[in-house]
Point group: C2
Chain length 304, copies 2
C-alpha cells in the first residue's frame, strides 16, 4: 500500500477487538497504518473493515502482517491466539514481531516469548493502563518488556496507541510492572476508603478533610480522583472491580510463585471477591469503600 | 513593646520547646512577635531567651500572654499543660486563646475546649504535618478545628509557623484531619512496600517499575518520595516510626470510640509495634518495607 505522501505504509495485525483493542486498531488506521484485524467473534471486525481494515480469518492468517498486536482478556486467551490451533505461531514468518497488550501472567509471557524466539520472531509484552478512555484517545501508559531491538521496533506501533511508552526490562517486565501497579493501587484505594470513613464517623466533613491533606504526604492520584466517589457513595467507571480483581490475581500468583508476601493486596482481593459476589463487579474499584462504610455502620448515600 | 514601625507588637506564649515548638517560637520571634516561652525542662528555654524571648516559670505564668500556643507530645502532656497544676487554665484571662499544635485525641480536645469556653477563652486545635524541616522553614501544613472567630484570630500566629492553614471544621476537626492523614499514609506506605518487593521478587528493577507507574493511578507522594528508601534498604528521617505509631494510636482509638473499622491501619500499627520492638522506631516509616522484605525473603541491602 502506498500513501499519497509516497511513503510505503507499514502493516500491523490487531487481534482482539474489545473495549481496548478496537480503539487501538482505529487509531492505527487513522495514523496511516495498513491494519489487519481478527476477532474470535468475527462480527466485531465489521466496523473496522468499514474504515479500511482488512479482515483475517484466523490469528495465523492475520500473522502474515509480520507485526501482530494482541489485546485479549487473560492468559489462556493469549495462549489460544498465539500458540493454539491456527494461532499466530502457525502463520508468522521469521523476522516478525509479537506485541501483547493484554494483562497476563509474567511467567506465561516468558514461555510464549521462548516459543517465538525459536522461530526468529521478536516478542514485546506491553500491558497498558488508562482504560477505555485512554485507548480511544491514544493516551495509554504502556509498560514494555522485551529486547532493546524488539521494543524499538514496537514503538512505531505503541506510540500510536499510547501517550507514554516505558521500556522497563526484558520480556515479562512489562507484565510485572502492571502487576506492581495493581498491587500499589489496591492498598492506596483501601487506605483512602478507611480515611474518609474515619472522617465521617468522627463527625467531620470528609470532603474538607481530603482537601486539607491532599497536598501533603497522604497525597495520591486515588485521594484526589476517587475519594469523591467514596464520599458520594457512587462508583461510576473508572476501572471495573472485576478487571482489577483479575489483574490482582495475576499479581498474587506471581507473588506466590516468586515467594513475595503481600498481605494488603491479598486482603483487597478478598474484598473485591465479595463485591463481585454482591453484584458490584462492574463498578469502579473505589466501590471498596462500600465495605469499609458497611463494616463501620455508615448508611448508604452521600456522606454529609 | 512598640516596634520601630510604631505598630504595637503582639504577644504569644509558646509552651513546649521540642523539635517542633522551638523552631515555631523562633519563627514567631523573627516575625516580630513578643514571645513568652516555657518548657518542662527549663534549660530548653535558654536559647530562645538569648534571642529575645521572655521565660515564664509555669504554663499559668506564660498564659498571661493571652494567646498560648502549645506543642507537646501527647494527650496527657497537653492536659497537664492546660488543666494541670499551674496550668494555662489557672493563668489565662477571659478573652484569651489557646492554640494546640500537638497531635492528640479529638475527644480530649473537645473536652479541653469546653473547659476553656467556660472561662471565655477560645480554643483552636491546629495539628501540623511537615516535620522538623517544615517547622524550621515555617512551611508546615496546619489543619485547624475551632470556631470561625477563634481560627481567624489564630491565623496571625499560624501563618507564621505554617505554609498553609486550613480550617476544616469545629473544635476537634483539626485532630480528626490529622488522624485521617495518618490512616491514609499507613496503607499507602504499605502498598508501596508490597509493590517494590513484588518487582524485586519477580526479577525486575524496582526503580524502573516505580518510574513507569508513578505518573498514573498508582501515583502518590509516598511512591515518589519514599519508594527509594525501600529499594535502598535505608530509612533516614523523614518521619519516625514511633511518632507515626503514636498518632495512629490516636486514630485507632478514635475509630474504636466512633465505630469505624480500619483493618489496614490496624495492621500497619501492628507492624510498627514490631519495628519499634526490633529497634527501628527512630527510622523513617518507610522502614515498613523491612517487614515486607523479610517475610518475602529479600536480603538486606539495596535491591539490584
Amino acid at each position: 500500500m502506498v500513501l499519497a505522501s509516497g511513503i510505503m505504509s507499514k502493516t500491523v495485525a490487531v487481534i482482539g477487538l474489545g473495549t481496548m483493542g478496537a480503539p487501538m486498531a482505529n487509531n492505527l488506521l487513522e495514523a496511516g497504518w495498513n491494519v489487519v484485524v481478527h476477532n474470535r467473534t468475527r462480527s466485531r471486525e465489521e466496523a473496522l473493515a468499514a474504515q479500511g481494515a482488512t479482515r483475517a480469518d484466523s490469528p495465523a492468517a492475520a500473522a502474515a502482517a509480520g507485526i501482530v498486536l494482541v489485546c485479549v482478556s487473560d492468559t489462556p486467551d493469549v495462549e489460544a491466539v498465539l500458540v493454539g490451533d491456527d494461532g499466530v505461531a502457525d502463520g508468522i514468518a521469521d523476522g516478525g514481531l509479537v506485541i501483547d497488550c493484554s494483562t497476563i501472567s509474567p511467567a506465561a509471557t516468558q514461555r510464549l516469548a521462548e516459543v517465538f524466539a525459536e522461530r526468529g520472531v521478536g516478542y514485546v509484552d506491553a500491558p497498558v493502563s488508562g482504560g477505555s478512555e485512554g485507548a480511544i484517545k491514544g493516551t495509554l501508559a504502556v509498560m514494555c518488556g522485551g529486547k532493546d531491538e524488539d521494543v524499538t521496533r514496537a514503538r512505531s506501533v505503541l506510540e500510536v496507541i499510547g501517550g507514554s511508552v516505558t521500556h522497563v526490562g526484558p520480556v515479562g517486565a512489562g507484565q510485572v510492572t502492571k502487576a506492581v501497579n495493581q498491587v500499589v493501587i489496591s492498598g492506596t484505594y483501601q487506605a483512602v476508603a478507611e480515611g474518609v470513613v474515619l472522617a465521617r464517623k468522627a463527625g467531620v466533613d470528609p470532603t474538607r478533610v481530603v482537601e486539607a491533606i491532599a497536598g501533603g504526604a497522604a497525597g495520591s492520584w486515588v485521594l484526589t480522583n476517587r475519594a469523591g466517589n467514596m464520599i458520594q457513595d457512587s462508583y461510576p467507571l473508572g476501572f471495573r472491580v472485576r478487571l482489577h480483581r483479575k489483574d490482582l490475581g495475576i499479581a498474587l500468583d506471581t507473588a506466590r510463585n516468586d515467594g513475595a508476601v503481600l498481605p494488603i493486596a491479598a486482603y483487597v482481593a478478598a474484598l473485591e471477591d465479595a463485591l463481585i459476589a454482591q453484584g458490584h463487579g462492574d463498578e469502579d474499584m473505589s466501590a471498596l469503600a462500600r465495605i469499609v462504610r458497611r463494616t463501620s455502620g455508615v448508611g448508604d448515600g452521600p456522606m454529609g
